[in-house]
């Protein structure tokens, strides 16, 4: 049988600002049979999206396809004219972007955007396209398929929008659909519905797909074959079962190993258990204040928790559950409306401005996106040096030496100190972000989703670093994440949050199973490295409905 896609010796190069050429895809060969779904997996910068985009005959600004060919049903996307490529895009090859929220025009109704492809390529009359779209909405198990199209993008949930963007790609009956990390931005509970919908539609239509992701477990559910990429080169190609059970290449094994980090177990660092932080009935939120001083929208509603010295607390829940707001309220960035925060046996004022310099120093917060948490105009030395000067009055040689020690602690080479954040990789940036918190010599570090924007292997390395530093410095962490395996790897206690409230507190070391129905749903929604997991998974539909936000 002839392959639908044949990529031969594909090379893509980019030009840097000094005019130097860098090869980012170094001779990749890849075939996709009709009806087959192939996954491209690898860390960021491995070239997986770049390869996927060449199937549209497209290279991002500053890049160009410098060699090889990309044949789709016999037509070479590399040598075709731009006009011919445009005719293929959307009709034969379609694209589902990572962030549907950014891909939809907020000012136009969804249905008009979904059928836009048929209008551009004059495939069918508008009313026919509408009927077809409604059929697709039904196939993608969207609620109210007849009317959902007349809404605007902000009126549907993230998971629904992602399925709608798949409908947009499928409306023209393409032969090949490119999925570019379509579920990365979604919660685990939503991810399941989206994956199921994608899988059934693709199988029913016999459509080929290329699925770009860094999450091996997600890929295992949907792909027939997996291509492991690194630095623009194919490391290993194999069927899903082969890759998962009989991985040959060391890098693939590292990926698999990183997927299940070692649980922390009951490691005890401090003998006498002393409470470091205690939060009682904390209420925080946004909007105008009521007469009783409580905010209009309570993002955090009467949450109590405590953190002991040398022990870690995990906070888990889906986006919008108030976990980041809780972190901000504890750190004083968003002053709590009521409730008390007791740190080291003394009550903390609710706002940053009222806290003393030492109180601020002892509790540090590390944010999710190192890109926005590090000032792009400052060198690493300045970023790490400022808290040293500010809190400890260090200058000159002393400060320079301490910056070196800090870089060493987070396993970064000293030569990075004169670089700026954008010259570092994602994992390196997150290490700098963490080192800045260490510079203050804190007792408690609040980590707000610090591994969520990182690739599996890099995230696993950061987790190991966290544990190592905890042993050395006797730190305590509050670790906020939506990723259960990460939280289990780091934390002694886990708080499950839903709708601004704490629903359950779990101690993994006691092998305590979740009791609350929401915790059960959340825990069972985490994808496993088993290709049959999604098909075998049975969630109580009643339960899913009562906790879905749509």
């Amino acid at each position: 049988m002839q392959n639908l896609v044949e990529i031969r010796d594909l090379k893509v190069e980019a030009t840097t600002d000094s005019g130097r050429r860098v090869e980012i895809i170094k001779g990749v060969n890849l075939d996709i049979a009709p009806g087959e779904i192939v996954a491209l997996i690898g860390e960021s910068g491995s070239g997986k999206t770049t390869i996927a985009l060449t199937l549209l005959g497209y290279a991002r600004a500053g890049c160009r396809i410098s060699g090889g060919n990309v044949r789709i049903a016999g037509k070479d996307m590399v040598t075709l004219s731009e006009r011919d490529r445009a005719a293929i895009r959307g009709t034969e090859v379609a694209y589902v972007p990572q962030s549907a929220a950014a891909a939809f025009n907020p000012a136009k109704r969804i249905i008009d955007q979904v059928i836009e492809v048929t209008r551009i390529h004059r495939l069918m009359p508008a009313h026919e396209a509408r009927q077809k779209a409604i059929g697709l909405f039904r196939a993608l198990s969207l609620p109210n398929p007849e009317t959902i199209g007349s809404r605007y993008p902000h009126q549907v949930s993230g998971g629904q929008l992602q399925r709608l963007s798949a409908a947009m790609a499928l409306i023209s009956d393409p032969k090949l659909v490119i999925f570019d990390e379509p579920t990365t931005a979604l919660d685990v509970t939503t991810q399941i519905e989206v994956l199921r919908a994608f899988k059934s539609v693709m199988k029913k239509g016999g459509i080929s797909g290329i699925y770009v992701s860094h999450d091996l477990a997600v890929v295992a559910q949907i792909a027939d074959r997996i291509v492991v990429l690194r630095n623009g080169e194919v490391q290993e190609i194999g069927t899903t079962a082969d890759i998962l059970t009989r991985a040959q290449h060391p890098y693939t094994r590292a990926l698999l190993a990183a997927f299940e980090p070692q649980p922390r177990g009951g490691e005890i660092l401090v003998k006498d258990r002393k409470v470091l932080l205690e939060v009682k009935d904390l209420v925080a939120g946004y909007g105008a204040k009521h007469r009783d001083g409580l905010p209009l929208i309570r993002a955090v509603d009467e949450v109590s928790l405590s953190v002991e010295k040398g022990r870690n607390l995990g906070i888990i829940g889906e986006s919008g559950c108030g976990k980041s707001t809780l972190a901000r309220a504890i750190a004083g960035i968003l002053p709590a409306s009521s409730g008390t925060i007791i740190f080291e046996n003394r009550e903390l004022p609710s706002a940053v401005r009222q806290r003393s310099r030492d109180q601020l120093r002892e509790m540090q917060i590390v944010f999710q996106y190192a890109d926005t948490a590090l000032n792009p105009e400052k060198s690493i030395e300045e970023i790490l040096g400022r808290p040293l000067t500010f809190y400890h009055g260090m200058r000159g040689k002393q400060r320079e030496a301490r910056v070196g020690q800090l870089l060493d602690m987070v396993h970064l080479p000293n030569s990075l100190r004169h670089r700026r954040p954008q010259e570092l990789s994602g994992g390196q940036k997150q290490r700098v972000n963490f080192a800045r918190a260490l510079a203050a010599e804190p007792k408690l570090i609040i980590c707000d989703e610090i591994t969520s924007a990182l690739d599996t292997v890099v995230a696993a390395a950061i987790i190991d670093l966290l544990k190592e530093l905890q042993r050395e410095l006797l730190l305590s962490y509050i670790f906020i994440s939506h990723d259960l395996s990460v939280v289990e790897a780091v934390c002694d206690e886990i708080v499950v949050m839903y709708g601004g409230r704490k629903v359950e507190e779990i101690t993994p070391a006691h092998l305590q199973a979740p009791q609350h129905p929401y915790s059960k749903l959340l825990f069972s929604s985490v994808p496993k490295l088993d290709p049959g997991w999604l098909d075998a998974l049975e969630l109580d539909p009643e339960l899913v409905r009562s906790y879905s936000k749509s």
């Binding site: 600002d17 000094s18 944010f367 948490a373 000032n375 203050a440």
Partner: protein, 280 residues
């Protein structure tokens, strides 16, 4: 525009030749403004040509004006006023506008609201009109001109800087600085300013051009630099009668204004950029 000067590349910077041209023209006018009194061939106010709107000759390189005064000398001396007054005014306007704008973005609340409304109100008064009123009331001197022009252009610079700073202020690194306990001065000077320098400089260039034009406008109305001295705007105005004759007296100062304003913008759009790719 990708070609750059090897000298700059050696220091790790890239500087396009367009920016170089801009810089050289600005330097030329700057030097002329400084040394003008020593090199002008004829005194500024003296009638030296028996003809008016004289053509270009070996004696008068840029011809003569409507009274028969030497045009080259008048333009060189005019550079002092045009460059000097505009530069001083634009520096004051942008400095105060940017500092106030960043402070308003960081402090927020009542301070921001009150300052923004006050400066919006100032912005609603037409520039030429308020300049007219002030100069008519206080009388024209170089200091009055500088202050008036600076005050007229401060609200615009404020609005611009505030809009930029509000965006930067939403970034996590500002939150980190705040939770560290940093003061306003550190936040605006060290965290926000480096991130808005590019657009702020572009704005400065634009505002410089506006000020040159407004100064020329005021001179046109006789409220700018007083005779026998004249800035370039006044030179264009007083020689406008030479237009039908194609006299160099009206063309030369126009070209001078154009060359200065365009090259300021060429330079600002093509400032030397640090090369990020170190492995080259």
């Amino acid at each position: 525009m990708s070609s750059s000067i090897p000298l700059f590349q050696k220091f790790g910077y890239r500087f396009s030749w367009v920016g170089m041209i801009g810089l050289s023209i600005i330097l030329f006018w700057g030097i002329m403004a400084l040394i003008a009194p020593h090199i002008i061939p004829h005194p500024v106010g003296e009638i030296v040509d028996e003809d008016y709107f004289g053509a270009i000759s070996s004696r008068f390189w840029l011809g003569s004006d409507y009274l028969g005064r030497d045009m080259l000398s008048r333009i060189l001396m005019g550079a002092r006023y045009t460059v000097g007054i505009s530069l001083a005014a634009v520096s004051i306007a942008c400095f105060s506008g940017i500092v106030l704008g960043m402070t308003a973005a960081v402090v927020g609340g009542w301070f921001d609201a009150a300052l923004s409304r006050f400066l919006d109100a100032m912005n609603s008064i037409p520039g030429k009109l308020s300049g007219l009123v002030v100069v008519a009331a206080v009388g024209s001197s170089i200091n009055v001109l500088i202050v008036t022009l600076a005050v007229i252009y401060t609200p615009g610079a404020y609005r611009f800087a505030r809009a930029l700073a509000v965006n930067i202020h939403a970034m996590d690194y500002i939150t980190v600085a705040r939770t560290r306990g940093e003061g306003i001065l550190y936040i605006i000077g060290s965290e926000i300013l480096p991130n808005i320098t590019g657009p702020v400089l572009a704005d400065l260039g634009l505002r410089f051009v506006f000020i040159v034009l407004l100064l020329s406008g005021l001179s046109f109305l006789g409220l700018g630099v007083q005779p026998p001295y004249a800035d370039w705007g006044a030179l264009v105005h007083e020689n406008i009668g030479g237009l039908p004759f194609g006299a160099p007296a009206v063309i030369a100062p126009s070209l001078a204004i154009a060359s200065l304003t365009i090259s300021v913008n060429l330079l600002i759009d093509n400032l030397p950029q640090k090369i990020r790719d170190r492995s080259a």
